[in-house]
Amino acid sequence: MHLLQVDHVVRKFGGLTAVNDVSLHLDDQELVALIGPNGAGKTTLFNLLTGMIPVTSGKIVLNKNSQSYDLTKESATKIADLGLSRTFQNIRLFKDLTVMDNVLTAMTNKYHEGFMTAILRLPNFYQTECEMRVAAEKLLAIFNLTANANTLAKNLPYGTQRRLEIVRALATRPQILFLDEPAAGMNPEETADLTQLIKYIQTEFKITVLLIEHDMSLVMNLAQRIYVLDQGQILATGTPEEIKVNPKVIEAYLGEGDE
């Protein structure tokens, strides 16, 4: 049984079929990439998987701790609670909160303070608050953000904001992490660092990662499997080596070499 099983998912916007009969699966601790030309429906698929928008038809099932959860009709909140976390293509940080508060906010459902405990500032409150901070600092340290802990998120440079989004997604302690173009707007050096980082968190936190990316150096270095999406449909699937030489993928997306 696969960790996440997506069966014949369709999403229509009026007359446009953005995602057309897509079936895919993710296994535990896999690193999978989703590639394809602009407008292929990659982000729409992410939105469907994380419950941001409802599916028109099809089925999404999560198999976790030997239990099955039907995610097809669940709310985004519930899906996030079940361990599916994401980042956004157009960065969606809590801009007027500090870096630290962004991370702490993502831990909301993992810790309980209680209304009266917080209002009366009982010893329990300080204890929980301290535990949350320690956990948040650990995450920030991994991503080299310790020095920025008290900076407002909106004042961070672009690449750092992207990293903070990943930290925030990790703070919800996900089992599956969806990364929507994590390397967009980064220079080659930053992309290389990010590639190492994604590999590191995937093994360190023992999570499954599905990422959308246009940077082929990152995709080919990281991904164990690749899905190619074109015009809402899965065009091809396979290992990076297979995808590189697949004539349909070359025609639709990768293009011929210059030589």
């Binding site: 909140t77 994401r86 956004f88 969606r92 809590f94 909160l97 906010t105 993502a106 209304f115 703070a171």
Partner: protein, 320 residues
């Protein structure tokens, strides 16, 4: 815990000193009944505006129905203390008002937050407050449109002072906790918040209910101190004047709300000597402040002893 003891004690000292100062000035004859009235009005406005600031400034939901919840508290106290005119009766009426406001806020919130935001929510809450006012206007027990008078005066300035302190501490502790962070996340970005597992409707509702409850407290104090209330006291204009305090002080700054409520309260009293020119000068003052300080007097700056102490120690280090 120990590190925070210093700040808790500092706040406690401020509250006790403030109380002692007012008490001494009243004994010394510096504060007469006229100024005492002004101070009580400022206190009630602080409770109202900090509650509304929680809804608008921290949860980011635009509510124009705050006076409706104030009316609930005011009428709960007026009705109960007429039959039970002791301090205990007042305290019980205070809790009854809070409970009623909580229930009604939960109903209004559930009905509106699921589908509405921004301007549309403002109109819906405005409508809800008008419904409350019209119900009061047409009931026998509330005295209809002529209102209720001869309400026994069971609260004085110390009651108001203590309740200002309690509501402020409750609101600030709430904002600076896990729950407060969730509420601010909803304000910042609802989509991102829901992707983090934060139930946006639930947290908006929590802020709305808590804000409504504080408005009911202010209403109870208003009724018992002024001894006369009428449905027309709790109309759109009252909701707007609370909103003015919040916006003027800075949306998202409780310190600003304190400052704005005080400045406007004093301004209002001083201008009473100018007769009919009063409202003109008041309005001009508002416009000027908004032009030169569009984010309100204090923006979203918040006073904290922690930062103050940190600055002192830094200065000391620099000197040595």
């Amino acid at each position: 815990m120990k590190a925070n003891l210093k700040y808790i004690l500092s706040w406690l000292a401020v509250m006790v000193l403030g109380f002692a100062l007012i008490d001494v000035l009243i004994l010394g004859g510096v504060i007469d009944t006229f100024i005492e009235n002004m101070l009580v009005t400022i206190g009630i406005n602080i409770i109202l505006a900090t509650g509304l600031n929680l809804i608008i400034g921290f949860s980011g939901q635009f509510s124009l129905g705050h006076a409706g919840f104030m009316a609930i508290g005011a009428y709960a106290t007026a009705i109960i203390t007429q039959y039970w005119s002791t301090e205990l009766g007042f305290i019980i009426s205070l809790f009854v008002g809070m409970a009623l406001a909580a229930i009604i806020a939960a109903i209004i919130g559930t009905a509106t937050f699921i589908r509405l935001k921004g301007d549309y929510l403002a109109i819906a809450t405005l409508g809800a407050a008008e419904i409350i006012r019209n119900v009061i206007n047409n009931l026998k027990i509330t005295g209809g449109s002529s209102g209720m008078f001869n309400i026994p005066q069971l609260c004085s300035w110390p009651t108001v002072y203590v309740l200002v302190c309690i509501t402020t501490v409750v609101l600030l502790n709430f904002i600076r906790s896990r729950d407060g962070r969730a509420i601010k996340a909803v304000r910042e970005d609802e989509i991102a918040a829901s992707a983090m597992g934060i139930n946006t409707t639930k947290w908006k509702l929590a802020a709305f209910v808590l804000g409504g409850v504080t408005a009911a407290i202010a209403g109870s104090l208003h009724a018992s101190y002024l001894q006369t209330i009428a449905p027309s006291d709790f109309g759109i204009m009252e909701s707007i004047s609370i909103l003015v305090i919040v916006v003027l002080g800075g949306v998202g700054s409780m310190t600003g709300t304190f400052l704005a409520a005080t400045v406007l309260g004093v301004l209002d009293t001083v201008l009473q000597n100018f007769g009919s020119l009063r409202m003109v000068i008041y309005a001009i003052a508002l416009i000027l402040i908004m032009i030169f300080k569009p984010s309100g007097l204090l923006g979203n700056w918040e006073f904290s002893f922690k930062n103050l102490f940190a600055r002192f120690t830094k200065k000391k280090e620099a000197r040595s």
